[in-house]
């Protein structure tokens, strides 16, 4: 075989070494910090970097096995194929259970190494504790791989050809969104480690929030990109024009995102007002636990999902133990230490922090709603009840209504000052925006025959939110006082954190607008079309001109041809793959700012072909808004105040009291 003997074993060995290093990293700095033993404390930095290098070596070994199509490695045999395009050979590395775990571990250790290298502004003992917790998480992950999911297992004799990658996975969208999701999930582990380290030390100074925020922000932005990408992938690949299916795997990414969003906002309150600490710590623990829960649900087979990896009860058992150890350990520590955390001062309901608390309450409720919906079939089944599946109607009547007050709080909050605000004053500043939004919503309601209520309501809040962001930015740059040139100069000089916030909030308004439009006002034509048939939809006129068979690199496609008046031809395809035998639909999409024309050609039915044609108004705005949110996150991240070492370095209490 083409395989290079030994490289897989080298990878396996590197992984075993990484496990040992993680053990050391998880124990020694923690013990050192408790005793004030400086060499043990400093060991954490070196261990974190070494662990990262070892996992990176293991990852490189697996990539090598994929690139060279070394089918003597079981994982490569099962998931790759020599005829697969090179790009998908590489992305196939993480398109399966074992490989994706290795990518997880790679990112986990990378974040750990980054804390070691860039976290110089952290007090040394605190950093040691953070790295230890991170090391313990690494121990669990690498052990999981080594004991239940070894990506380097060999088969003998080596087969001549691989089983191929699931053709649905052979797609750029699916190849690239999981790494962002994993980076997001794993990034939250840093917030978790910071939270546990703070619990161990028994105090949460405002500087804690300043340290933890950039990491959370980075993880959150990655997660945002991952979810946006996943949603876009589902839209164009699954062939039904839907962008969110409330599938357990999607929910598994949404829950940590909601929790991380709440964490981002509550950390601001901790930093600025030195209060809400216990809650923020709990959020950090919950956010990471939800990331792990997602992993558990996807890989243990306790829930059915279209995305689920091959399930295996042994693996499920291991992840469950791991999940319980991580979450249980942290929550037990929380139960012991949190009551002793000094509560912060009281504050006014109507104030910036009041709005942030409201935001947190709503986000936490929304997270709980999604969690309940995801687990409800499981709970009911465990109680001996009926088999149910929880679908969009549940979320439409629970999750969606929560979003309306959230948007309103979000619109008003940034305009309120810290400590005490004047609600009437703010509402006065927003009255024109509010009026315009309401009129806009009513106009939509009036113009479209029997418009559904929820989308119209969503339009109103989206307009209101967008308007309030504009008002907020204009006030910040003192537009009225300074006019256009002066305001522009101030805009450039604004703190990047503030601009990032406005950008992210605007992105949310854009997304909500797109969701409301695409779900409430879509048009569709489902039916059988013969050659020469014409369909009118949303002002477009499509004529079906038949199908032809087209060979692809590792599939054959049935390609339909639709002539669209004023646009030209569109070519939707159905692709048939041979190994493994499978069909995928490739929708033809004509994206515009005002909406997408979405055409799918299906199987031959009687005299014609089954055809689905959709008009999805403003659907691109959903993902554009998602990318704006992520861009806002990254832009804030570049804020000088968040950059390492900034701002005024308060003398950290160096010699920590021994525990």
């Amino acid at each position: 075989m083409s395989g290079s003997p030994g490289i897989a074993e080298f990878g396996h060995f590197a992984l075993i070494l990484a496990f040992c290093v993680a053990l050391v990293q998880g124990i020694v700095p923690l013990a050192g910090a408790a005793r004030g033993h400086v060499p043990s404390i400093r060991l954490g930095d070196h261990a974190a970097v070494l662990q990262f290098l070892l996992v990176a070596a293991a990852f490189a070994a697996l990539v090598h096995a994929y690139v060279t199509s070394d089918f003597s490695v079981l994982n490569v045999f099962e998931n790759s194929h020599s005829k697969k395009p090179m790009l998908y050979k590489v992305t196939g590395v993480w398109g399966n259970h074992e490989g994706s775990l290795l990518l997880w571990a790679l990112m986990l250790t990378m974040f750990g190494a980054m804390v070691a290298v860039f976290g110089r502004n952290l007090p040394e003992t605190f950093r040691a504790r953070v790295l230890s917790v991170q090391g313990l998480v690494g121990v669990g992950f690498i052990a999981f791989m080594l004991f239940t999911s070894n990506p380097f297992a060999r088969i003998d004799p080596a087969p001549l050809e691989g089983n191929g990658l699931n053709p649905i996975l052979q797609d750029p969208g699916l190849a690239f969104h999981p790494p962002f999701l994993y980076a997001g999930y794993v990034g939250i582990s840093i917030a978790f480690s910071f939270a546990v380290a703070a619990l161990i030390e028994g105090r949460v100074p405002p500087s804690w929030a300043r340290w933890v925020r950039p990491w959370t922000l980075a993880a959150w932005a990655m997660l945002t990109i991952g979810i946006t990408g996943g949603s876009y992938w589902a839209y164009y690949e699954l062939g039904w024009g839907g962008f969110w299916f409330w599938d357990p795997v999607e929910n598994a990414s949404l829950m940590p995102w909601l929790a991380a969003t709440a964490l981002l906002h509550s950390a601001i309150v901790v930093e600025k007002r030195d209060t809400l600490k216990s809650w923020t710590i709990l959020l950090a623990i919950i956010a990471f636990s939800l990331s792990l829960l997602g992993t558990f649900l996807v890989r243990s087979g306790v829930l059915t999902s279209v995305h689920a990896f091959a399930s295996d009860p042994t693996r499920g058992f291991f992840i469950l133990i791991f999940l319980l150890a991580v979450t249980g350990g942290a929550l037990a520590l929380y139960a012991v230490r949190a009551p002793a955390l000094k509560p912060g001062g009281m504050f006014q309901t109507v104030s910036r922090e009041g709005a942030l608390v409201l935001n947190n309450l709503l986000l936490a409720t929304a997270t709980a709603t999604v969690l309940l919906g995801t687990l409800y079939p499981l709970i009911l089944d465990a109680l001996g009840g009926a088999k149910v599946s929880v679908g969009p109607p549940y979320y439409n009547s629970t999750f969606m209504p929560l979003m309306v007050p959230l948007m309103v709080a979000l619109a008003i909050g940034p305009l309120l000052p810290w400590k005490r605000g004047d609600l009437l004053g703010v509402l006065g500043r927003l009255k024109f925006i509010a009026l315009a939004s309401a009129v806009g919503g009513l106009l939509v309601f009036w113009l479209t025959v029997d418009a559904p209520l929820l989308p119209v309501l969503a339009f109103i809040v989206a307009f209101f939110l967008a308007g309030s962001v504009v008002v907020e930015v204009l006030e910040r740059v003192q537009f009225r006082k300074r006019g256009v040139p002066g305001a522009l100069r101030r805009l450039v000089a604004l703190p990047r954190g503030a601009v990032g916030m406005s950008l992210a909030h605007m992105g949310l308004a854009v997304s909500i607008f797109g969701i409301a439009a695409a779900s409430g006002f879509a048009e569709e034509h489902l039916g059988i079309m013969k050659e020469g048939d014409t369909v009118e939809i949303a002002g477009w006129s499509l004529t079906f001109e038949g199908v032809e068979d087209v060979p692809g690199p590792n599939y054959t496609a049935t390609r339909g041809r639709f002539e669209v008046a004023g646009l030209g031809p569109m070519f939707p395809e159905t692709r048939r793959f041979e190994s493994p035998p499978m069909e995928t639909t490739e929708a033809a999409i004509h994206p515009t700012i005002l909406g997408d024309l979405y055409v799918v050609v299906g199987e031959k039915t009687g005299p014609g072909h089954a055809v689905r044609i959709y008009w999805k108004p403003f659907v691109m705005w959903i993902w554009a808004g998602g990318l704006m949110m992520a861009a806002g996150g990254f832009f804030s991240l570049s804020d000088r105040r968040l950059r390492v070492g900034a701002p005024v370095r308060r003398a950290a209490p160096r010699p920590q009291a021994a525990e």
């Binding site: 216990s278 709990l282 623990i285 919950i286 636990s289 558990f296 243990s300 087979g301 306790v302 829930l303 059915t304 009860p313 499920g316 058992f317 469950l320 999940l323 319980l324 979450t327 249980g328 929550l331 037990a332 929380y334 139960a335 012991v336 949190a338 009551p339 687990l375 079939p377 499981l378 709970i379 089944d381 465990a382 009926a386 088999k387 493994p580 035998p581």
Partner: protein
């Protein structure tokens, strides 16, 4: 006040333990296991032709005979190939009869499938249109039923059989039915 704060701080832990024990309980159970409305009911009336000139399958065959495993399969179904060796192994269990229902499959393809992998079925009913499968409530292939000696559907499994399912669910039930 302090106790009260402690209770609140311990609440997340309690919730997690509750969820954790529920997950533990669910592990290893198949979430796609569906309740069938036909369990405990007599098999629906049907009569299917055999493959080539082999014996066909009808409700009468199931009403009087040994405990019967009815396996719905197709040559085009990949999981059927996976479970096939287990069916072959089941033929060695005394007191159990295995019959097949070829679902929406060309007889020639079915024949090729059995020639390639071996034929564990004592009788095969060819359900090329898939009409009988509807009466049985077939959800997707492969699907396996256990029918008692008097023709009652006692058990149903959706998806490929596994060693676990056969050992822990199917065989104990079959043994009870034999008594």
């Amino acid at each position: 006040m302090r106790n009260y704060r402690f209770l609140i701080a311990a609440l997340p832990l309690a919730v997690m333990i509750g969820l954790g024990s529920m997950f533990y309980e669910r592990l290893g159970k198949d979430p796609s296991e569906l309740p069938s409305a036909l369990i405990g009911k007599p098999v629906p009336a049907f009569e299917l032709p055999g493959l080539d000139d082999g014996k066909g399958l009808s409700a009468d065959d199931l009403r009087n005979g040994p405990v019967t495993v009815v396996n719905v399969f197709a040559s085009w179904c990949a999981p059927c190939r996976i479970e096939h060796p287990l069916l072959t192994a089941l033929t060695k269990v005394p007191g159990i009869r295995i019959v097949g229902m070829a679902y929406k499959d060309e007889p020639a393809a079915t024949r090729g499938f059995l020639e390639q992998l071996g034929n564990p079925y004592e009788r095969i009913g060819v359900d090329q249109a898939g009409r009988v499968a509807i009466d049985w409530g077939v959800y997707g292939v492969p699907e396996t039923y256990l029918v008692s000696t008097d023709g009652q559907i006692m058990w149903k499994h959706v998806g490929p059989l596994t060693e676990d399912v056969i050992r822990n669910d199917m065989l104990p039930l079959a043994e009870r039915l034999m008594k």
